[in-house]
Symmetry: C2
Subunit: 244 residues, 2 copies
DNA sequence: CGCCTAGTTGAGGTAAGTCAATTCACGTGG
DNA sequence: CCACGTGAATTGACTTACCTCAACTAGGCG
């Protein structure tokens, strides 16, 4: 497969559909503005609907929901190549917030452009549908994590999934990866408290499974981890393009 | 909006996109076979990939994931008009099981036909993308439920969401609805044990919020329920078609 | 009648939460 | 250079929401 450009979006959609020259050119025009955000303050506020989605070019982000009592549930983390706020744009509701975890760079994709592109190039719609389905599969796996796994398995599964995703975009190796998340991020994602996250991480480290210290995740015993967490990455990567 | 037929699929997609005559005709041809399943034994086994998705015409089903230790996480429930196994078909993986909760009737939609329809009628792809996004929004809300709400709020939120969904397809009224789920179903969906579900239901009943007995859910105090569960149905229904 | 499944209730255990104190890393300004 | 402040990580003591085990009831159906 050859590509006239190698943007995160092209790489992502190319995994699902073999893109033609014409389709690649359309994708090129979709990348309107390039924007930067600094870590920390939230980018999109809950309830505020937005007319554009983003594709993450560099950095990490997370999308979350807040509750009245101050609790926060992180729905998922975005790494380079992932969509930000696609669902919000499609459904015209932004019912979640987005936080840049690190400084990050995004390219903006307007909702209107996307819909026009769909009309002219149906395969792009199919590709996006696939990408959205993969995202949903991750949320589903996340749901199983929180609903039916104990804290340690939950953490192990989460760290493995993140590693596998980073691998797919060339940001990790089998033995570990750099990870800018705080224990509070982990807690809000896994439905735990930061304190308990700390204890669980120590437990996993002492068991010789995985070490997460000073921003580095190291798999001390990858195979045992996979076994312990019942991790099956089938939902993350399908071999080649599903549509030729 | 007029329709040459009023199937669950047409009703569902019509909520997102105003369908043309030509598009309606294509949808008609998509409904291949009509099949029936009886309650109980599971329909699609975990790991077994299938070449067709279904649209539920009547009855209830649920999709779930099993864990090695025998635990089960129900991901969502399907009521008439909902897709069954769409994600599996798109991603060519069936990583979850499906259980008919009641006897049910479905219409089959083959993966190949769907992809062809997308090529010829891009708006259909857009419509399905929207429907899939709505499903994802429900899973996200489910995630928040399990991750950050206590058992009672979780249950209240779940019963309200289900009520709102049934309302949309004309199967419930504001004061309650018929519900064939067992306490075990509720437990597996909400990440609890059946025993605890029982206690929580009693608690909600004694607080005068909601009564779930012998297959009937009755909202004893709808507004207080909504407040108690922080229920906001914005993600379920968007006013009219998003694409004209 | 007897069996089976779903629901109900009690007693006691445990995973995870809460509250509180301490340490550590890192910037920033005096 | 050092004092200081701030946010993250760490650890301990105690509480609690939910689980486990176990017994019992109620309804449906051959």
């Amino acid at each position: 497969m050859f590509s006239i450009e190698d943007t995160p979006l092209v790489r992502k959609l190319g995994a699902f559909v073999s893109l033609s020259e014409a389709e690649l050119r359309v994708l090129e025009t979709l990348h309107k503005r390039r924007r930067r955000f600094i870590a920390g303050p939230e980018l999109v506020h809950q309830g505020q609907s937005d007319q554009a989605a983003y594709i993450l070019a560099s950095g990490w982000a997370c999308s979350f929901k807040m509750l009245k009592d101050g609790g926060r549930q992180i729905v998922d983390f975005q790494i380079p190549g992932d969509f930000l706020g696609l669902r919000s744009v499609l459904l015209h509701i932004s019912d979640h917030g987005i936080e840049p975890i690190t400084d990050m760079e995004v390219t903006e994709v307007s909702a209107a452009d996307l819909l026009v592109a769909f009309e002219r190039h149906p395969r792009l719609a199919t590709a996006i549908l696939w990408a959205a389905s993969r995202d949903e599969a991750m949320v589903v796996e996340h749901l199983v994590d929180i609903g039916r796994r104990h804290a340690a398995e939950r953490m192990a599964h989460f760290l493995l999934e993140l590693g596998a995703r980073l691998n797919l975009v060339g940001m990790g190796i089998k033995t570990g990866y750099a990870c800018p998340l705080t224990q509070t991020h982990l807690a809000d994602a896994l439905g735990l408290t930061a304190i308990h996250v700390n204890r669980i991480l120590r437990q996993l480290r002492e068991r010789g499974l995985v070490t997460f210290q000073s921003g580095i995740v190291t798999f001390d015993s990858y195979n045992e981890m996979v076994d312990f967490a019942e991790f099956n990455p089938a939902y993350l990567n399908q071999g080649g393009p599903l549509l030729r």
